[in-house]
Amino acid sequence: MQSDSALRIVWIYPDLLSTYGDQGNVLILEQRAQRRGIPVETFHVRSADPVPEGGDIYLIGGGEDRPQILAAERLRRDGGLHRAIARGASLLAVCAGYQIMGTTFGGEEGQPVDGIGLIDIASGRGEGRAVGELAGETDSALGLPTLTGFENHMGVTRLGPGVRPLARTTIGTGNGDGTEGCYTGRIVGTYLHGPALARNPGLADLLLTWAVGAQLPPIDDSWFERLREERLTAVLPR
């Protein structure tokens, strides 16, 4: 970690968990910071390497069963992410990466596999695959507009008392109980896979605000807004 003035974004294990366009979240955070004049340094941490503790925003993406299990083992052994979160860093955990953050998740044959225990959720394997558009009303305390994205997973996630749901679903499956994702402290987890921030720039700004510690000036969001409007119009009942 070279610079004290730049925003440090750490992408965890793109070699294992990056099968769904997860890079998009990195690129969008970079763009939205830079358009506000905030310099950014991005670190791609391969799974053979230690997770640095000095980052501001950590990202972890989705992936297949086997890489998910490997990623959980390595993160637990490494401990860097735990230390970073204890220091107050922010985290966006997507899909397989979201499940890993809890106490347990479903493995290749549905068997329970230990998560890294960073947040109070427990996941398992559901009956069928949830594939399709997801929309939901975000938790009112977050002050964010409707959540929109695409999900593709077989997981079911139970939220413990230590976390709050990110949204109540109106379309799609999410956690499987009418809620989608969760948040606690500066951690956000979601089943919206891949480039979840592409359709939720407000969520991107929430992560940036946590990291920067100040309100951010508005920027031109017209392409984000046009895409959101088109997708929500396509999927929400009229």
Partner: protein, 428 residues
């Protein structure tokens, strides 16, 4: 082949009638519906139709249709070849292809990568070509590690010869349970799905190549002989020594002779497909000096690389269905021309557009870029974040009309490509 049981003959004939009807009513090329009608009547038909033929199956994420065409062209030097030339690559399409060429002693079948195990079982094919595996239509194609695992199981214990791309670690793993393999160094520009060992999950090291973060420089297509070497840092799994090597514009055969390809088909990916085709032809007893002239005759495959024209605008059509395919398509683009990009998200494309974020569009900076297709707003945001200036068009036709007269390149994904072909001509 002509001695099919009566029931199978009837099923096969009915299938051909349905295909004729489908073509006559303009619903498609008829190859899939014909096969479906046949399969309903006789589920064992594929087995019977494949019996006694010398068959090659061709599977991969990208390049299946073109490689099937190249191998077919080569083997026609030996005799009649049954083939599913229109990309109908599931068992119904295979039935359709084989039953419409009953007496052909040879068959070359493109096989959807998910269906490969069942088609291997049904056909007992003697030769299987495996080129590449990468992320593709995640909402329906599923997981490629799992797919390679299924290939391994399907190949184990069979008397099958595999021709496989040794530069793709996942393909190598998927092929390595086969009784015998011809390894071809056909290159692997897209590496984002193979930074981990498929055998043990450890990190894969690549010779002369450190881990390259996605989206940064270094994904250039250089299929030289040593840059493609890879080995697991933690177990014994490593790249097998290839006997055929794609070396820039030429293929080096197992005797060390260098053959300049000089194909009409453009781009690195097609040179890789040709390397696989030449190695396959040799397994069928056809030497390079007889196979290569046949490959050079192929100019367009199921509309790929054809040019459509309207009002003096000549648009060359490139198909790209996934990030690895886009990387290969960029390699074919003429940097001096404007480019139209068209993206849909219908069932065959995958309903999910997340993959757009795995494509590095920055290579398009500096040329006029037009964006069309049903999911143009997804692409527009992607280009905006990549810092690539573009113009949004309501449709492909509008984007074409916005060009000055002359040439333009087009990259489209599957149904976007088909829409353009059906509106502007289906010449193959």
């Amino acid at each position: 082949m002509t001695q099919l049981p009566l029931r199978a003959q009837l099923a096969s004939a009915l299938g051909r009638t349905a295909a004729t009807l489908s073509r006559a009513t303009g619903r498609g090329d008829g190859s899939v519906i014909g096969g479906r009608v046949s399969l309903v009547l006789e589920p064992d038909l594929l087995r019977q139709l494949a019996h006694d033929r010398k068959l090659a199956l061709v599977s991969a994420t990208n390049g299946k249709t073109t490689t099937t065409r190249l191998i077919t062209s080569a083997l026609q030097e030996l005799g009649e070849v049954a083939t599913n030339a229109f990309g109908a690559n599931m068992p119904a399409g295979h039935v359709s292809a084989l039953s419409s060429a009953k007496d052909a002693p040879y068959g070359v079948l493109e096989v959807d990568e998910k269906y490969l195990p069942e088609v291997i079982d049904a056909t007992g094919a003697g030769v299987i070509c495996l080129m590449n595996l990468s992320r593709d239509q995640m909402d329906r194609a599923g997981e490629i590690w799992l797919l390679a695992q299924k290939w391994r199981r399907a190949l184990a214990g069979k008397n099958t010869h595999v021709i496989a791309n040794a530069d793709d670690p996942l393909v190598t793993w998927g092929a390595s349970t086969a009784a015998s393999v011809t390894w071809v160094s056909a290159g692997q520009p897209w590496k984002e799905d193979s930074w981990c060992c498929p055998q043990c999950g450890g990190p894969l090291d690549r010779k002369g190549m450190e881990y390259v973060p996605p989206g940064s420089a270094g994904t250039g297509a250089n299929p030289g002989t040593t840059e493609n070497d890879w080995a697991c840092r933690e177990c014994t799994f490593r790249r097998p020594t290839p006997s055929w090597v794609l070396d820039d514009d030429a293929v080096i055969d197992p005797r060390g002779r260098r053959w300049v390809l000089d194909l009409k088909l453009p781009g690195r990916a097609n040179r890789a497909n040709a390397a696989i085709a030449l190695a396959t032809a040799e397994v069928f007893g056809l030497p390079v000096d007889r196979a290569l002239p046949r490959l050079r005759e192929v100019t367009s495959v199921a509309g790929r690389y054809t040019t459509v024209e309207r009002d003096g605008r000549h648009a060359r059509l490139l198909l790209a269905k996934n990030p690895a395919g886009w990387l290969e398509a960029f390699d074919v683009l003429d940097p001096s021309l404007p480019v139209i990009l068209s993206v849909n998200a219908q069932g065959p494309d995958g309903r999910d557009t997340s993959w757009l974020w795995d494509v590095d569009y920055r290579v398009l900076r500096g040329r006029p870029v037009f964006v069309a297709g049903e999911r143009r707003l997804d692409l527009a945001l992607r280009l905006d974040v990549a810092g690539v200036p573009f113009q949004l068009a309501g449709s492909f036709g509008q984007a074409l009309a916005a060009q000055p007269p002359g040439k333009v390149d087009v990259i489209a994904n599957y149904t976007a490509f088909q829409n353009i072909r059906s509106e502007f001509g289906r010449a193959v």
